[in-house]
Symmetry: C2
Subunit: 190 residues, 2 copies
């Protein structure tokens, strides 16, 4: 998706050689016009798929998923919770997700009422790298015996094995920008 | 806002006498059609205010703020971060927020680049009770020497002192549904 790649080239920053910071337009400040372009593009990529629900993971997926829902007939968006505390999730499906950025295992939770067996679930997230977050969400959809319509990703690190692990499960993965490598602090797209 | 109050009566649940659970349509599963109605209503309530940026707090405010931005000329949305970990916020304004629900003090952070002195900031959040979260966000806007256009809240617990503390600072507070009391597990609106 050209608009997104241009934006990454312009405002993304590569730090420590392999971390792409997109906090000025995706995951701290959010560019809602760009999110609408992304939502439209996800609809195009999953045009032939029936989608009854969008599932994402707090925190960075929420804004993208909310805007994207508007292009899928305003289907409900569910975000799996990582931080529950006193606002506990009752009656939950749970999956373990290891985060390489935070070096920590999360127990992500979704209330069982919000994914039903009849649902066709589109999973949306901001990044795909090793695929652990997406695999956790897939695990939850499978526990609910619902169908996975696909996985829609904003930025994929194409040099990690996330896509392969998802495709091995027969899942349709669509990424709006695929990074082939970081070359000396510059982003090279596939 | 009638649609919202009707939805709360229909799908909200009062637990332990004074906690209103709206997780089936606001803060775990999100009703994006309803969020659009809320965004439209915020625009109506703040019609005469210039808004250049929307500020909210992760997690529950993000979806509402993202959708609301569409009714304010797609201004950028910034969410203050509570959970930073390895994805640290560089160069940050910080404010302490005590959460009564989680019985925990958070250090909320916003990258200084994302609120500028010239900004007119609309603060959006899902709940207003004692006002600690809103006061933390106001503190951050003030550190940036920006202007506060107002505070827009989805559900206000009118029997707590959040509104009073904000209005004492001269801030315009608009809530889409104000709860007067919980009467025997039933929500009574003002």
């Amino acid at each position: 998706m050209k608009t997104l790649k241009d934006k990454i080239m312009k405002d993304g920053r590569v730090i420590n050689g392999n971390i792409l910071k997109v906090d000025s337009f995706i995951n701290h400040q959010m560019d809602i016009k760009l999110f609408n372009e992304m939502g439209k593009e996800f609809k195009k990529r999953f045009e032939n798929k029936e989608v009854t629900k969008i599932l994402t993971l707090e925190v960075s997926g929420i804004g993208i998923a909310a805007i994207t829902s508007q292009y899928f007939d305003y289907v409900p968006v569910v975000f799996a919770k990582k931080h529950t505390g006193a606002n506990f999730v009752e009656n939950a499906y749970e999956a373990e997700v290891y985060s390489y950025t935070k070096k920590q295992t999360y127990n992500v939770k979704v209330n069982k009422n919000f994914i039903e067996e009849k649902d066709k679930v589109l999973i949306i997230d901001d990044f795909l790298a090793n695929g652990k977050a997406a695999l956790g969400l897939i695990d939850i959809v499978k526990q609910a015996k619902a169908e996975i319509a696909g996985v829609g990703i904003v930025i994929e690190k194409g040099f990690q094995n996330g896509r392969r692990d998802l495709e091995d499960l027969g899942i349709d993965v669509e990424s709006l920008a695929v990074i082939e490598s970081f070359n000396d602090g510059k982003v090279i797209f596939k």
